[in-house]
């Protein structure tokens, strides 16, 4: 699997996690990174890769940042 494919896969997994817990739990970037490291293993997924996946997630408009007493990654308004 190429790096780009892995970034896409991790971004999708992050998106599913944010979607599943939407309205119940807020995730920070580090929460998503920790969860992905646990899911894929630290030998496969590291912080730099997660950073790129989050960037993809935000730039694609699937997720957005919110501020609720801290900055979180969440679904855009109206989702």
């Amino acid at each position: 699997m190429s790096d780009e494919d892995l970034i896409n896969e991790v971004a999708n997994a992050m998106y599913e996690m944010v979607k599943e817990y939407h309205g119940k739990k807020n995730f920070k970037a580090m929460d998503l990174t920790k969860a992905m490291k646990q899911k894929y293993g630290e030998d496969k997924v590291n912080k730099a890769l997660c950073k790129k996946a989050i960037r993809q997630l935000i730039d694609s408009g699937r997720c957005t940042y919110s501020y609720v007493g801290g900055s979180y990654i969440t679904l855009p308004a109206g989702s």
């Binding site: 950073k51 935000i58 730039d59 957005t64 940042y65 501020y67 007493g69 801290g70 900055s71 969440t74």
Partner: protein, 400 residues
């Protein structure tokens, strides 16, 4: 458009007195409906003794997690023109230098898209645009980027680095504060715009220990200029201060030295530079006679915060002397070690200084790979029960 100006008897009191008044300034643009409602909601808050703003939420510009602070009025029917009144933080140029042409451009952009009210500059250092409706955020951002500006930080990210005017205007600057600030702003764009930390992280760069940007009290990482060699001393100029009567050298200089590291024998000022703590007092009193040494750099300190309710926490020494030569690679590596460790183990809304207090400085230093030095100690410990832990190598040696 004619606006019915609101009656504001309570906040009118803030116009009295010799000091500058933000109410007076706001009233100058009260023909703008947003400003008029802003004055109205403030008057209402003074009457009700409660704020009428809610902040936070989902507002921002595409791709960025910082730079826009959502603000909504909780009385939108009464004050419809400030129902959305978002704040935009615009990354200022290092040292706050502008051309008048650029200032006009910024103001034109803001009058076109927002309330026209600015705060030059906010306590973060940024140019603050006060009062934008949600639909105008992207167009404002677009015009700003075209004019060469970008948003600053907000939320749990690296905040817009700020600095004193440094070598541009100050002879005491021990390093290029503006160059350093520009460098780290460019280097950590991702950290500035995409919040990934437990809480905010501020850099403030002061060129000398006078610390004109109060970095020691306000920045998570304070970079304060200092020197390693002796204070530069011009004995003839010292004598001139004394003979002209401009300075009472015994009372105003020697007597106020916090470490008593200097003496005056009636003819010559003698400084024991080994005991000097770089407080800058003598240099400030006799600027023509004394100056910081020539071997200059900065002290790197960590962990300040200036809370509204709790007590202030000043930053503590992390690196006693750093040469501050671009591209500052060692410092950048250390900062990223700190971010990794704090990011992994910090609690939500826990500043790095609070994190260090919680886990202990010893553990923190071990994790970021920095050796303890005497300069990190604030005062001698009062607990007499000190336990030394031998490291593994020493253990093995003893067993051998």
């Amino acid at each position: 458009m004619t606006t019915n100006k609101r009656e504001t008897p309570l906040i009118d009191q803030l116009e009295k007195g010799p000091w500058p008044s933000f109410v007076k300034e706001l009233k100058k643009s009260a023909d703008n409906p947003m400003t008029n409602d802003l004055l109205g909601v403030l008057e209402r808050s003074y009457n009700d003794r409660i704020g009428h703003w809610k902040h936070g939420g989902l507002v921002g510009v595409m791709g960025y997690g910082g730079g826009v602070i959502g603000r909504y009025c909780d009385l939108p029917e009464e004050f419809p023109n400030v129902a959305h009144f978002h704040t935009m933080r615009i990354n200022h140029p290092a040292g706050w230098f502008y051309t008048s042409d650029v200032l006009r451009k910024i103001c034109d952009i803001w009058e076109k898209h927002g309330s026209g009210i600015t705060n030059m500059h906010g306590s973060t250092g940024d140019i603050i645009f006060l009062g934008c409706v949600t639909d105008e955020l992207e167009p404002t951002f677009s015009d700003l980027t075209e004019a060469g500006f970008d948003l600053g930080g907000s939320g749990s990210d690296m905040r817009t680095p700020s600095c004193c005017c440094g070598m541009a205007r100050c002879e005491w600057a021990c390093y290029d504060t503006m160059g350093f600030t520009y460098d780290i702003t460019q280097h950590w764009q991702d950290e500035l715009h995409r919040p990934a930390f437990p809480y905010k992280y501020k850099f403030k760069a002061s060129g000398c220990p006078n610390d004109c940007v109060a970095s020691i009290a306000r920045a998570d990482m304070s970079i304060i200029g200092t020197w390693r060699d002796d204070i530069q001393q011009d004995d003839a100029a010292v004598a001139e201060y004394v003979t002209s009567g401009a300075v009472d050298i015994v009372e105003d200089v020697v007597g106020r030295c916090p470490t008593q590291c200097m003496s005056w024998d009636g003819e010559k000022l003698t400084i024991n530079n080994r005991d000097c703590v770089r407080c800058m007092h003598c240099i400030n009193v006799m600027p023509k006679a004394l100056a910081p040494g020539k071997d200059r750099g900065a002290t790197i300190l960590l962990g300040a915060k200036a809370p509204i309710i709790g007590g202030a926490l000043l930053s503590s020494v992390l690196i006693p002397f750093y040469e501050m030569e671009p591209p500052y690679e060692d410092l950048k590596e250390l900062v990223e070690e700190i971010w990794d460790f704090w990011g992994e183990h910090g609690k939500n809304r826990e500043r790095v200084g609070e994190f260090i207090q919680r886990i202990g400085l010893g553990n923190f230093l071990e994790q970021i790979g920095l050796e303890p030095t005497p300069e990190m100690v604030v005062h001698p410990r009062t607990n007499p029960y000190i336990f030394f832990e031998l490291d593994e190598d020493e253990d093995e040696e003893e067993e051998d």
